[in-house]
């Protein structure tokens, strides 16, 4: 473990890292381990609703393994819930059966729309979809009067203050939201939203514009509470889902608005899945650093974007990280650095079931290979 992890990270995020500096190993996304939660004696469902437990769980990956960041929250429902979506919390007796809080009822959800009686099954389905589309067209978002005290946002804010106080000198404290397009898909029927992005882009743009206003408020609150950097996760706009053309016309302007307004700390744009066709567009978003997952051909991206801070891109689930040997994890980390990542960083949330020895192997690999060769 380096002595000045936080300084290293902030230098990397600001694009100020120099040859010979250590390469940091951190994340802007969920990075808790089941091991850490068990050591604390918590149940998995508690850490999403209790600020002290949230902070302790976030810090445990640093305390146990020397991981160089502490990130809250862990689930993708915080913002959607604060806008009126219903989030379900699962309490499983089997601690090994991890289920993150999930939106079970969106603000506009086909499950609560019923078709007129007497229609055939097929016609009823069509009628429901038409009604949901109408609702999306007519819906007007309203800004909650007191964002800092809406839903679980105060829990995240308090967790950030605790982290800042307790580990803020040692590690980088981070927080995140989804991007405006992805967040829209969390509060509205995603299938219809995707089709409307093609058929009625003006409706989607109007809702995106609200989402930008809202995320601006939420992210700035996170920063005020102590986040040293923030990550915006726009995975819904990956080229595995949306065409680069639609990314450029619909999503990129919204991201540029977000990064134009959220200032004062480094901002990371994360997109997973296929990002190869859009990395250059991502670099126009105004973010300070880009995060991609294992589907990105990182060495090609490095060549396309020599001066952009790139974070990536090991696969934080399945084999080898969670199911392979420590030797395989060592090789995986070595490859990340060799392909030109400025920071070793996972492509998604770390899967909490990662074995202790593999977390240790990752941190050990940093000592072996984690020296910056490019200036």
């Amino acid at each position: 473990m380096y002595n000045n992890s936080k300084d290293t990270i902030m230098k990397v995020l600001r694009g100020e890292a120099a040859r010979g500096d250590p390469v940091p190993n951190f994340s802007g996304m969920g990075s808790i381990t089941l091991h850490g939660i068990q050591q604390l004696g918590y149940r998995f469902n508690e850490i999403h609703v209790d600020a002290r437990k949230m902070a302790a769980a976030a810090a445990s990956t640093y305390r146990l393994f020397g991981f160089e960041s502490a990130i809250v929250p862990f689930d993708m429902g915080v913002v959607a819930e604060s806008l009126g979506a219903t989030v379900k919390y699962y309490d499983k007796a089997d601690l090994g059966q991890i289920i993150y809080p999930t939106m079970t009822r969106k603000v506009i959800d086909r499950a609560v729309v019923s078709a007129p009686e007497g229609l055939s099954e097929a016609d009823a389905k069509t009628a429901v979809m038409k009604e949901v589309e109408r609702q999306i067209e007519e819906y007007e978002f309203r800004m909650p009067p007191d964002v800092a005290n809406t839903g679980r946002i105060p829990v995240v804010l308090e967790a950030l203050r605790i982290l800042k106080r307790e580990v803020g000198d040692a590690v980088a404290i981070g927080s995140w939201t989804l991007g405006p397009f992805t967040e829209l898909g969390q509060v509205m029927d995603l299938e219809i939203l995707l089709k409307m992005s093609a058929k009625k882009p003006d409706v989607v743009k109007r809702h995106l514009s609200f989402m930008v206003d809202y995320l601006d408020k939420v992210l700035n609150l996170y920063i005020e509470a102590g986040a040293d950097f923030v990550t915006v996760r726009e995975m819904g706009a990956t080229s595995s889902i949306l065409s680069p053309r639609m990314f450029k016309s619909l999503v990129l302007p919204a991201l540029q608005d977000v990064f134009g307004r959220v200032k004062g700390v480094p901002r990371v744009l994360h997109i997973c899945g296929d990002t190869n066709p859009i990395v250059e567009l991502m670099a126009q978003s105004g973010a300070d650093a880009l995060s991609v997952d294992q589907m990105n051909r990182l060495s090609e991206t490095r060549a396309k974007l020599p001066n952009v801070v790139l974070l990536g891109n090991y696969k934080p689930f399945g084999a080898p990280f969670c199911e392979g040997t420590p030797e395989e994890v060592d090789a995986m980390i070595k490859a990340s650095i060799e392909q030109g990542a400025d920071g070793v960083w996972p492509g998604c949330d770390i899967w909490p079931v990662v074995p202790v020895e593999n977390m240790q192997a990752m941190m050990d690999a940093m000592k072996k290979y984690g020296v910056r060769v490019e200036s």
């Binding site: 379900k88 699962y90 059966q97 991890i98 289920i99 993150y100 999930t102 939106m103 079970t104 055939s120 097929a122 016609d123 069509t126 995603l190 299938e191 995707l194 089709k195 992005s197 093609a198 058929k199 080229s239 595995s240 889902i241 949306l242 065409s243 639609m246 899945g273 296929d274 066709p277 589907m295 934080p316 689930f317 399945g318 084999a319 199911e323 998604c348 949330d349 899967w351 079931v353």
Partner: protein, 246 residues
């Protein structure tokens, strides 16, 4: 009403292109014509609508179409399928008589991929029991037992939810070691499917959608194989998927 082979070919072509161009109106019109001339509804579905979706799959794989376009194509397909399906004659030995239990696992509400896989099964004539999304794991097992299903399909879009899959696989296998189980979703690949004891998934499914789209071609190619009383007798554990890889 008698029709010439040319007229039939023209209707099939319009069904196919209507799906590809996501033109619901044109699909509905062609489907009505097909019924008007008493064309074999099964042929209209398989060689018209499904043939169109087959091309959509190629467009998706090559990066010409993305998810919004595929969803619009699926709407066009359904517009035709809803008209044609009631007219398919259930002749023994012609239709697949399989039963599928399908759902998105607990903790996951992403159902676009699942719905497209479901559509493919419906096109092929399977009876589909759709459990929906955020499905408690035991419900897969219960429904499987209740319906004596041939196939259990589970979908997960997030790395954080796919962990429920091996639990279901184990429970279904405990009831019937020969049950056929398919898993799909963005984080699922062949290695994971094999490790967890599932019968298959897409080759390296970058997402469930491609897998679903691949299936349609396979279902059409395997026409002869599907003309069996009980599909699983002819269909090896992952025969469908092996064919998809070929």
């Amino acid at each position: 009403m008698a029709t010439t082979p040319e007229q039939q070919a023209d209707i099939l072509e319009r069904l196919k292109n209507g799906v590809i161009e996501y033109d619901e109106d044109s699909v509905v019109k062609a489907a009505q014509e097909a019924l008007g001339v008493e064309m074999d509804a099964y042929k209209a579905v398989m060689d018209g609508l499904a043939a169109g979706m087959d091309v959509v799959g190629v467009y998706f794989a090559s990066g010409e179409y993305f998810v919004p376009e595929v969803l619009m194509c699926a709407d066009a397909l359904y517009a035709g399928l809803n008209l044609l399906r009631p007219h398919i004659k259930m002749e023994p030995g012609k239709m697949v008589k399989g039963t599928v239990v399908i759902g998105t696992v607990e903790g996951d509400i992403h159902d676009i991929g699942k719905n497209l896989v479901k559509m493919m099964f419906e096109v092929a004539g399977f009876t589909v029991h759709d459990l929906g999304r955020d499905v408690p794991l035991d419900q897969f097992v219960d429904k499987y037992m209740e319906t004596d299903a041939d196939i259990v399909c589970m979908s997960a879009m997030m790395t954080t939810t796919m962990i429920g899959m091996p639990v279901v696989i184990e429970k279904v296998r405990a009831k019937n070691p020969n049950a056929r189980i398919m898993i799909g979703g963005a984080p699922i690949n062949e290695d994971i499917a094999q490790k967890w004891g599932a019968d298959g998934t897409g080759k390296d499914a970058p997402n469930a959608l491609q897998e679903a789209l691949n299936m349609i071609g396979v279902l059409r190619e395997l026409g002869d194989q599907f003309k069996t009383e009980r599909v699983q007798k002819e269909w090896g554990a992952d025969g469908l998927l092996d064919a998809a890889k070929a």
